[in-house]
């Protein structure tokens, strides 16, 4: 039976139709808050606050949120900070994880299982348990408020996930190809480049996308260590909540702008996402 195409013997057509309609209904209910936020982002502030639609829809709020007020965090600054932190940290993660996955999947080291479980156990350590030493040393080394400290921490957050995920994709590279390359005396770097990467490329891309999502959405470290000029997108979204005047439409536009990049990344990676989320245990 092909996956996801189960049609029980003797099942009636109307039953299948009912399942489909129910699934659609559930999906629309679940996505409703996002859909409503998207709609609100095109409204005027008055309409948004009253939850009405009298003054039409426009891109006006998107224009508003792009305007920077001196002295406050601007979209441009936060976006650049997020972009640099996310891309650089993901790149470092891949540079560290790919050779590690090679040493855990293709030519496994002695006790490779213990090493794998060590990586995953670092994910189980609550972040609050190590935040004060990190804060104290970041202060000592003048890293508070910099992109550098976030890059260092996001690499550590995503590394276990990336090692597990890429290892699981490397396991699928046919052994014969690697053995042939080894006999030809190809170096590890060249083996990775010419034999393994072309086959594992879609999996590595999915790994990178998951790392991007987690780094982009991260708020705790960003809040603790980067409250000033180094602030990232989550802090910028929050800065759109105001205690004076209506802000719901602008906040909605800001939410959409902040989430759109990772929603697209997640949609692109969804087929392989489960492997990363289950630490490689599921396919």
């Amino acid at each position: 039976v092909k996956r996801g195409t189960k049609l029980g013997v003797g099942e009636r057509r109307s039953f299948t139709l009912g399942i489909g309609m129910l699934a659609w209904l559930v999906a629309l209910i679940w996505i409703f808050p996002v859909g409503w936020t998207l709609l609100t982002s095109f409204k005027t502030e008055q309409d948004a606050a009253a939850q009405t639609l009298n003054q039409g829809l426009s891109f006006g709020r998107y224009h508003d949120i792009a305007q920077s007020t001196p002295g406050t965090l601007s979209l441009q600054t936060a976006f650049m900070n997020s972009l640099v932190v996310v891309l650089v940290s993901t790149l470092i993660v891949l540079v560290l994880a790919l050779p590690a996955a090679y040493a855990l999947a293709i030519r496994p080291v002695h006790k490779w299982r213990d090493v794998l479980f060590f990586f995953i156990s670092t994910k189980f350590l609550p972040v609050v348990a190590s935040i004060f030493p990190i804060y104290v040393y970041a202060e000592k080394w003048n890293l508070i408020g910099t992109r550098t400290i976030l890059i260092i921490l996001y690499v550590a957050i995503n590394l276990p996930l990336a090692v597990w995920m890429t290892r699981s994709f490397f396991m699928e590279v046919p052994r014969e190809l690697i053995e042939a390359a080894e006999i030809d005396g190809t170096s590890i770097i060249n083996q990775l480049r010419s034999v393994i990467l072309p086959i594992a490329a879609p999996g590595i891309a999915a790994t990178a996308l998951l790392c991007v999502i987690f780094a982009w959405n991260e708020y705790f470290y960003a809040l603790q260590l980067n409250f000033a000029s180094g602030s990232t997108m989550p802090q910028w979204v929050i800065s759109n909540v105001s205690t004076r005047g209506n802000f719901l439409a602008k906040l909605s536009a800001a939410s959409i702008v902040a989430c759109l990049p990772v929603i697209l990344a997640g949609w692109a990676a969804q087929k392989r996402m489960i492997r990363g989320l289950s630490m490689g245990a599921l396919k």
Partner: protein, 311 residues
């Protein structure tokens, strides 16, 4: 020919076992050392802090010298009613959020396991809340749904002629759990769906031919098969949800009934208390709890993992 060549390659290494072992380890070392340095060392420093009275010097009017206080910080934990409250909030928040998202996730996965028009699109829509920034998810629910000023729920109540409810201030825990369930249901759904799709189709078919009822098949075959996937979902979910911070910070800022352990530790330290010494002791207690959950999680992971190797 290849066997002979492999033999030669092997012999080349036999003479030098040490360098061969290190050549294998070398690609692993950068990642391993990085992980140890950034995740394990600070934790060791935390253990050290937990035995001192370290405070942020710039935050206190009369700076006192840092000194070793033995297990005083740990003793204090047991007499702190706020910490007990935070433990209880953590337990409730995690259990409600994990169980509810597992139930919804399983139901959604059962629907998605069927063939229907637009199946892929429905799946794409359903996973979207999980991709949202947790901060944004919390803000959407706070401002668009729960708010007594412009929330849709409030408008709905007014429309029905009922009086408004201050959702977040009168039911902080339920409000936060709602957001967590909304975001984590897709995660559970994906795990259960992977379980459903790994079911051997021939067994289901023969059960069907034998005239077993749909519910009977589900209870006798599907549910036992799903058990380990449910366990995996529950444990991975617990590990992440027990650390929930973003939703609490955005929705209540840690009011009564919504401060979980991580948020309490945060308030005691860099969130305003600046008592790093005693806060470290709380953090170490959290780690001990986490290790207990993680031990079970690792066991389930490793059993799934062995099956994969066998397959």
């Amino acid at each position: 020919l290849t066997a002979a060549a492999a033999d030669v390659a092997l012999k080349g290494r036999v003479g030098d076992p040490f360098s061969s072992a290190w050549r294998r380890r070398l690609p692993l070392l950068p990642a391993l050392l990085y992980s140890i340095a950034v995740t394990q060392l600070p934790f060791l420093v935390s253990i050290y802090y937990s035995f001192t009275n370290l405070k942020d010097k710039t935050q206190s009017l009369i700076p006192e010298p840092t000194k070793f206080v033995g297990i005083d910080n740990y003793k204090q934990i047991f007499s702190d009613p706020f910490f007990r409250q935070a433990v209880w909030t953590s337990v409730q928040m995690t259990v409600f959020a994990v169980v509810l998202s597992l139930v919804f996730g399983t139901l959604f996965a059962l629907l998605l396991d069927r063939k229907f028009l637009g199946q892929g699109l429905v799946r794409t829509l359903l996973i979207t809340p999980f991709l949202l920034m947790p901060v944004v998810a919390a803000l959407i629910w706070k401002q668009q749904m729960f708010s007594s000023l412009f929330g849709l729920l409030d408008k709905a109540l007014t429309f029905l002629g009922l009086s408004s409810v201050q959702f977040i201030s009168s039911h902080p825990l339920a409000s936060i759990v709602t957001v967590l369930v909304w975001q984590w249901t897709p995660f559970m759904m994906l795990i259960i769906l992977a379980g459903l799709q790994s079911q051997p189709g021939d067994i289901l078919e023969s059960a069907n031919v034998d005239g077993a009822s749909g519910f009977g098949i589900f209870r006798q075959l599907t549910l036992p098969h799903l058990r380990r996937y449910l366990e995996l979902g529950a444990l991975l979910g617990s590990i992440f949800i027990v650390q929930a911070f973003d939703a609490i910070d955005v929705m209540t800022g840690g009011g009564p009934g919504s401060t979980n352990i991580p948020y309490y530790v945060y308030q005691e330290s860099i969130g305003g208390g600046f008592r790093y010494g005693s806060a470290s002791a709380y953090a170490i207690v959290v780690v001990i709890f986490s290790i207990i959950i993680a031990t079970f999680a690792l066991r389930v992971l490793s059993s799934l993992f062995k099956d994969e190797e066998r397959a």
